[in-house]
């Protein structure tokens, strides 16, 4: 529907400006507070004009919460999760769309249902798996009495253990499964004409070649859109890293460090440093979105044929 009345124009512009205002004000406050010194930031009401201490605040925040190594940790986790998600989503959508097997629809719905089960809901079982990734297999062996059987036969007791706590694997793996990504890929794969599949069959390429030579290049914009969303969301992960890393020094991520920057109850209320730290931490996702937004929009809205 395209309306061309001045009143409507006015209303839409007003709504958009209001929305922009709502989004930008907190951001502005962060920048302003991050650039002030302790006295200025403690004033009530807050002076909404930036001051000249941004660089020194950033330096303080950087050293105080050890942001250098933590940035690298965060980057490893975010990139790892993003790549893992894309590979897994592309492969599972490939299986669901292009292969005709009996459990196809069941698989699709099982994946789809996990949309309703975000990490926060399944945090306890996920944690116990992360504590010992081989636990399910141990349980199977125990339940079927295989452990007991082997113990009586050989005298060796089987105890499977693979601890993922305090490791990059633990930080990345449980976040890799993604219903959203699979769904996005499925929708894209369904727009690929059958004749293209058949042409590549006639050209002699098997499923893997078809996937690599045809599907992947064609889904490039999709992949970049997905990467953008996934990078931002995994960079912003707080709960999971907090749970799985007790060794903060080596495996902490920047978002966890932000908590460390918040002034303690009876400490100095240096919110200026906290805000400067927040600015550093939100920079990478901001950059990713800024660089990818062209692809991002294209991948989600239109399909270039």
């Amino acid at each position: 529907m395209i309306e061309r009345s001045p009143l409507f124009d006015f209303i839409t512009y007003a709504t958009m400006i209001l929305g922009m205002f709502l989004v930008l004000v907190p951001f502005w406050i962060t920048i302003v507070a991050g650039s002030q010194n302790l006295q200025e930031v403690s004033q009530v009401p807050l002076n909404l004009w930036p001051s000249g201490h941004l660089v020194e605040n950033i330096q303080t925040a950087w050293t105080r919460s050890d942001l250098g190594p933590k940035m690298i940790n965060s980057l490893i986790v975010a990139v790892g999760v993003t790549t893992g998600k894309i590979i897994l989503a592309a492969l599972s959508a490939f299986a669901i769309v292009f292969f005709n097997f009996r459990a196809r629809m069941i698989c699709f719905w099982l994946i789809f249902i996990t949309l309703m089960l975000p990490l926060e809901v399944r945090i306890v079982p996920t944690y116990s798996i992360a504590a010992n990734a081989l636990l399910p297999f141990q349980t199977i062996l125990d339940v079927f009495g295989i452990t007991g059987l082997i113990e009586t036969l050989s005298g060796v007791r089987i105890g499977l253990e693979w601890n993922l706590l305090n490791s990059y694997t633990g930080l990345i793996l449980p976040l890799v499964a993604t219903a959203t990504g699979t769904f996005l890929y499925r929708q894209f794969f369904m727009t690929i004409p059958d004749e293209l599949v058949e042409a590549s069959k006639m050209d002699g390429s098997g499923p893997i070649r078809f996937f690599l030579d045809v599907l992947l290049p064609l889904s490039r914009t999709n992949m970049l859109a997905l990467a953008t969303i996934m990078f931002v969301s995994s960079w912003n992960q707080y709960l999971w890293p907090l749970l799985i890393t007790t060794d903060r020094k080596n495996f902490g991520t920047v978002v966890m460090q932000l908590k460390a920057l918040i002034p303690a109850q009876n400490g100095t209320p240096d919110w200026n440093v906290t805000m400067a730290g927040a600015l550093i931490i939100m920079l990478p996702p901001l950059l990713v979105v800024a660089l990818m937004q062209r692809w991002f929009v294209r991948g989600l809205i239109s399909r270039d044929k």
Binding site: E195, E198, A199, K201, M202, D203, S205, D213
Partner: protein, 369 residues
């Protein structure tokens, strides 16, 4: 060289039969066109040869090998698709060379081959372009080059020209014909366009509702249609088909009291419900009073330029004739025509099959009783 033998080929989707048992041999080096209305199973048949559809029953052999269980790539067929099916992200050269790349041919050899094939279809100036930057005809050429480059044993065409405009279609038709002449590769071409079929084919396979109605040379199919369906389907304007009965002495009774005397047919068709067919160009307009002339009243006229089509009513039946005269003629005016002795076709209404009128059953001229 490579013949294709289909024996007892059937196709069912779940419980729905689509192809009801096809027995045809396509000779080596032959250009065969499968012609039929949409939904007749012609594409399914082609795709079964290509290996894109499973064969429910029967066998297909390419050369001496039964290919039922072979993957498409192992059958040595190349296919040209209706919507070209070019890889949109690859350049023309990559599109043409993809099959060779998959087959593991070294780069230098591949490039040389792609170049020579592209030259032969006039694509060499466009090798670096993407399919999206080409016109319909050029895309069609890429699709053909892609098929040619593999030097297949069999070419399969699935309605390749249906997306082209009329003029381009004629040009591409000639190109396919030349291609076949120079390469001599066994080709199977599916279309619903009868002009395309008639001009291209060495032999036609006419299909209807999953059944092969007739196999034969284009002229054979045109002049001796094996069934009512073929008679009606082939030819434009369509053949005049008049339902009626023969009495014991060979009078063909039709419409509201119309009667044609056809003594020879008495012995073969007496008492049966039959359809008499005659092509519009075989109906000759004559002066009133000519021996054997049948009277009709003009319904309307379609002007074609070189000739005109006259739609007329004779005893309640519609008859179409090609009239090359230029006299004034209008709705409601009486005309007279005779039917050519050798141009009559008889079909049994019960099974739609042709009733053969042997030479001695043909009468020198027809008398309007």
């Amino acid at each position: 060289m490579t013949a294709i033998t289909l024996s007892g080929v059937k196709k069912r989707y779940l419980k729905n039969p689509v192809v009801h048992g096809v027995d045809v041999t396509i000779e080596s080096g032959e250009f065969v066109v499968i012609l039929g209305p949409s939904g007749c199973g012609k594409s399914t048949l082609l795709r079964m040869i290509a290996g894109l559809e499973d064969i429910t029953e029967g066998t297909i052999a390419i050369g001496d090998t039964v290919v039922n269980k072979l993957e498409p790539r192992e059958r040595g067929c190349a296919m040209v698709f209706q919507n070209y099916a070019l890889y949109p992200h690859m350049s023309v050269a990559q599109n043409i060379g993809y099959a060779l790349k998959v087959a593991g041919m070294p780069r230098a050899q591949r490039d040389a081959k792609v170049m020579s094939v592209a030259k032969s279809v006039g694509l060499d100036p466009y090798l670096t372009r993407k399919p999206g930057e080409l016109s319909g005809g050029q895309r069609q050429r890429v699709a053909m080059a892609r098929a040619m480059v593999r030097e297949p044993k069999v070419f399969l065409f699935d309605e390749p020209f249906s997306n082209l405009d009329a003029k381009l279609r004629v040009a591409m038709r000639a190109e396919v014909r030349n291609l076949h002449r120079s390469l001599g590769v066994t080709s199977v071409f599916v279309t619903h366009d009868q002009t395309e079929a008639m001009t291209l084919a060495d032999r036609l396979i006419i299909m209807n509702q999953g059944i092969v109605e007739q196999v034969g040379k284009p002229s054979e199919v045109y002049h001796r249609p094996a069934s009512l369906f073929v008679a009606d389907f082939i030819g434009s304007p369509a053949m005049n088909l008049i339902k009626g009965q023969f009495d014991a002495i060979g009078n063909f009774l039709h419409g509201r009291g119309g009667m044609l005397h056809l003594p020879g047919a008495a012995s073969i068709a007496a008492g049966r419900d039959v359809t008499l067919g005659v092509r519009p160009e075989a109906v000759r307009r004559v002066e009133a009073g000519t021996r054997g002339a049948i009277a009709a009243v003009v319904d309307y006229i379609e002007e074609l330029g070189a000739a005109r089509l006259v739609y007329a009513d004779t005893d309640g039946n519609r008859i179409v004739l090609v009239d090359e005269r230029t006299d004034a003629l209008g709705t409601g005016m009486p005309i007279h025509f005779t039917l050519g002795e050798n141009d009559l076709h008889l079909f049994d209404n019960a099974d739609g099959k042709r009733i053969e009128m042997r030479a001695d059953h043909r009468v020198p001229s027809l008398l309007n009783a």
